[in-house]
Amino acid sequence: MFKKVLVANRGTIAIRIIRACRELGIKTVAVYSTADRRALHARMADEAVCIGPAAAEDSYLNIPAIISAARAYGADAVHPGYGFLSENGDFAEACQRSGLHFIGPRARHIRLMGDKPRALRIMRRYGVPVLPGSEGTGIVELKQALEQAKRIGYPVLIKAAAGGGGKGMRIVRDGDELARLFPLAQAESEAAFGSRKMYLEKYVEKARHVEFQILADNYRHVIHLGERDCSIQRRHQKVVEEAPCPVLTSRLREKMGRAAVRAAEVVGYSNVGTVEFLLSDSGDFYFIEMNTRIQVEHGVTEMVTGVDLVKASILLAMGERLWLKQRDVAFNGAAIECRIYAEDPETHLPSPGVVSNHHPPGGLGVRVETALYDGYHVPMHYDPLIAKLIVHGETRPLAIARARAALREYVIDGIKTNIPLHLKILDDKDFQRGDVHTDFLTRFEPKEEVRQLRKAG
């Protein structure tokens, strides 16, 4: 068993890791920036050390400072949480080199999955379905684009090969449209990234974001803990997640689960991880990427499977053999997570400030993960995620009712939060029917913005 874990993170996930360590009898060292001196994670850990100034590059992303802290404070393992250095292969490697256990996969797996084209190639080779796309390193000529698009099949998404963020993106439904929009997208790409190389990809309409939770030990045993539906996103930022996915049949779950397990197996992955798929209306699914860390939304899987994923990440990193077989995994009820952001519900701008009247909801089936307390100053420097409300119920309608009731009880004064948006989502008839896709949230955007988002694909 590890004796002392350095928690290389802040906010809700740092609290989550400290709690898991405490239950395992492991001591904890928190690290904090000068902006986080009074942060809850720094107060809750057995020890806490300031590692640098407020800017994340100087503190939470500062590898030498963190490793130095781990060594000076006698930690034998480091938990990276999510975000920050959690998917940084150099950090994992630096930990190992310094004789520290990195609680996560091996550095090479982090790097492999971080290299998207390479990951896609491997998945394709081993028969994990991936989105059909153009071959080669990029298309410059329209003629070539038309050929490839025909092979892929319309509708097709034009993307800049050099970058993301919606720039240079267009959805085209036939050759005429491609001929018309390809040059425009190319011009945008050139303006934004200085490159005329484009990439074509099958465009999946009414897609859902469905991801599978993986557990893998160091001895090539891999299982999955079912899926999470994370279709409720705003500009690729997840807002509401749930388990199970309301439209998955057990047969499709089995099929996708097998693909997810295979994705982890073929690379020899270990520790916790998540395989993300795009799921089409017709039940086709495509590997998008694998996240090589604990996810923000791990809690919904914990609620329906009873498996403590953070504890699992620690035990697996210690070299424990997987204590569950696939057939031991049972699913119970439905869970929903609402990510509470410190942001203006209208403008989506961050809303830092001092929290007052903090009153989280409670009771049966209600779990709150937060680092807030009364008088806490939400700093402007970091991710605006301030709390996760996770509810569980025997059925999805009950989970929805419980989430609504809990949101209505939630009090966070002094800053703005997206709680009103969550209530809108939960009150939405399509959401209640489970009829959601990744563009769901655009219905709550002002019209002009919707057009922009739709255009961006």
């Binding site: 001196r37 009074r38 057995d46 050390v49 300031c50 640098g52 100034p53 008088g375």
Partner: protein, 162 residues
């Protein structure tokens, strides 16, 4: 006592989170109580829950002059006289008072140091980082034990100038 004066006192209270203010005169008696609440929760079962230290930041009333003074430095801040300067750790690491285990310490309390003179070492990532005096003065207090882990911005020594 006029209402106007009372109002001034109440304003003072509101602006400073005072929940009690008692005055008395003749030979003066004062009692001020600030709100504990505005600060962070103090946890139960104290010690074990971790490094929950007193929250109030103590600062020198004179402007901090140490070049590396951290503006929002935390808990263990020593009280400084106006002519005193804090030497802070510029990084997280391990504090050493001497260049090697057998060598004598760089400085002792009471020593005079000139600008640029080594005061201690912070070991980080197996690198030995010499911390030198930014001002000429006397070492008034050494705040850390040899081989103790220290954080970024943590006070190490107090120098007295002039």
């Amino acid at each position: 006592m006029e209402l106007r004066e009372l109002k001034a006192l109440v304003t003072l209270m509101r602006q400073n989170d005072l929940v009690e203010l008692e005055l008395e005169d003749g030979k003066s008696r004062i009692r001020l109580v600030r709100q504990a609440g505005s600060s962070a929760p103090t946890t139960h079962a104290g010690g074990k829950i971790g490094a929950v230290k007193p929250l109030e930041v103590q600062r020198a009333s004179a402007p901090a002059v140490a070049a590396n003074a951290s503006p929002d430095a935390g808990s263990d801040e020593p009280h400084l006289a106006p002519n005193q300067v804090l030497v802070r750790s510029p990084m997280v690491g391990t504090f050493y008072r001497a260049p090697s285990p057998d060598a004598p310490p760089f400085v002792e309390e009471g020593d005079m140091v000139r600008k640029g003179q080594p005061l201690c070492i912070i070991e980080a990532m197996k690198m030995m980082n010499e911390i030198t005096a930014e001002v000429e003065g006397r070492v008034v207090r050494i705040l850390c034990q040899n081989a103790q882990p220290v954080g970024y911005g943590q006070p190490l020594m107090v120098l007295e100038t002039g």
